[in-house]
């Protein structure tokens, strides 16, 4: 029996998730917004891996799931950044606040 309980990992993940979310919702730099989202996905992964070890009928599935998540997250980061670069090329800004021409 491990001396570190499941909930410790879960709380860590929750904290990371919250920080990621906070970053995604408040940071002005678009790159940071994207990377905050990655942080949230990391929190998910941590959850999955923790559950894989300590969860009900613990199994390797959680780890597999997290691998998929990581892969997809990477893809998402790439696409997000590509979009950002295209945007930057046209607008010369990465400030999220200035991306508000679409509203009416």
């Amino acid at each position: 029996m491990s001396s570190v309980p499941l909930s410790a990992f879960l709380v860590t993940a929750l904290l990371l998730f919250c920080m990621g979310l906070y970053g995604a919702l408040t940071k002005r730099n678009a790159v940071i917004v994207l990377i905050s989202i990655e942080l949230m996905l990391n929190a998910v992964n941590l959850n999955l891996v923790a559950f894989a070890k300590y969860g009900v009928g613990a199994s390797i599935r959680g780890q597999v799931f997290s691998l998929f998540t990581i892969t997809v997250a990477a893809a998402e980061a790439a696409v997000g950044l590509a979009i950002l670069i295209a945007l930057y090329r046209n607008r010369a800004t990465v400030n999220v606040d200035e991306m508000n021409t679409l509203k009416k």
């Binding site: 499941l6 929750l14 894989a52 980061a77 950044l81 670069i85």
Partner: protein, 172 residues
């Protein structure tokens, strides 16, 4: 205090510090670097959770690939620019919401215990994953390749500078 717990606390602190630094630093580059810390901390936690393979992948992809991509992103855009300040009101709303969310979830997981831990995870961890991937999860595995293809194509299409570079109309 067992050694395991000590390791956990250190990793926990590394992880959270990285996150907090990311949120509070002003320079964009520094933020990304702070996050590397977090990613590494998480990798450490994975090892604690008998997920060696995932930990390695984590270091490779996050601390490696994604961070590099992001740094490229920052370099390609205005990298010197410091993060502008966000209005307090907005921050306040977001912060309150997140605190509430945290509290609600925290209560649910604070004392959670779901049964005995899996003992065999660390044995041939990579093999187990491999077997799983090629039995149950063949379809998503293959599908992920399509996802990556799409990401590849997308990134190329979007980020590449067109030769003809004809500016389309501003209107949709």
């Amino acid at each position: 205090m067992t050694g395991e717990l000590l390791v956990f606390i250190i990793l926990f602190l590394v992880t959270i510090t990285g996150g907090l630094l990311m949120l509070n630093l002003t320079k964009v580059i520094h933020m990304v670097m702070a996050l590397v810390l977090t990613f590494l901390g998480i990798a450490g936690l994975y090892i604690m959770l008998s997920a060696e393979f995932v930990a390695v992948v984590q270091i490779l992809i996050y601390s490696g690939a994604i961070t590099i991509i992001m740094l490229f992103g920052i370099m390609l855009t205005k990298h010197t620019e410091a993060e502008p300040k966000t209005g307090w009101a907005k921050k306040g709303v977001v912060f309150t919401g997140i605190v509430l969310f945290f509290l609600i979830m925290f209560k649910g997981i604070r004392t959670i215990s779901l049964g005995p831990q899996a003992e065999t995870l660390h044995e041939n961890n990579t093999e187990q994953i491999g077997i799983m991937l090629f039995t149950d999860y063949v379809i998503p595995f293959e599908l992920v390749s399509v996802v990556l293809l799409v990401a590849l194509v997308g990134a190329v299409v979007l980020a590449k500078k067109d030769e003809e570079d004809e500016k389309e109309g501003e209107q949709s």
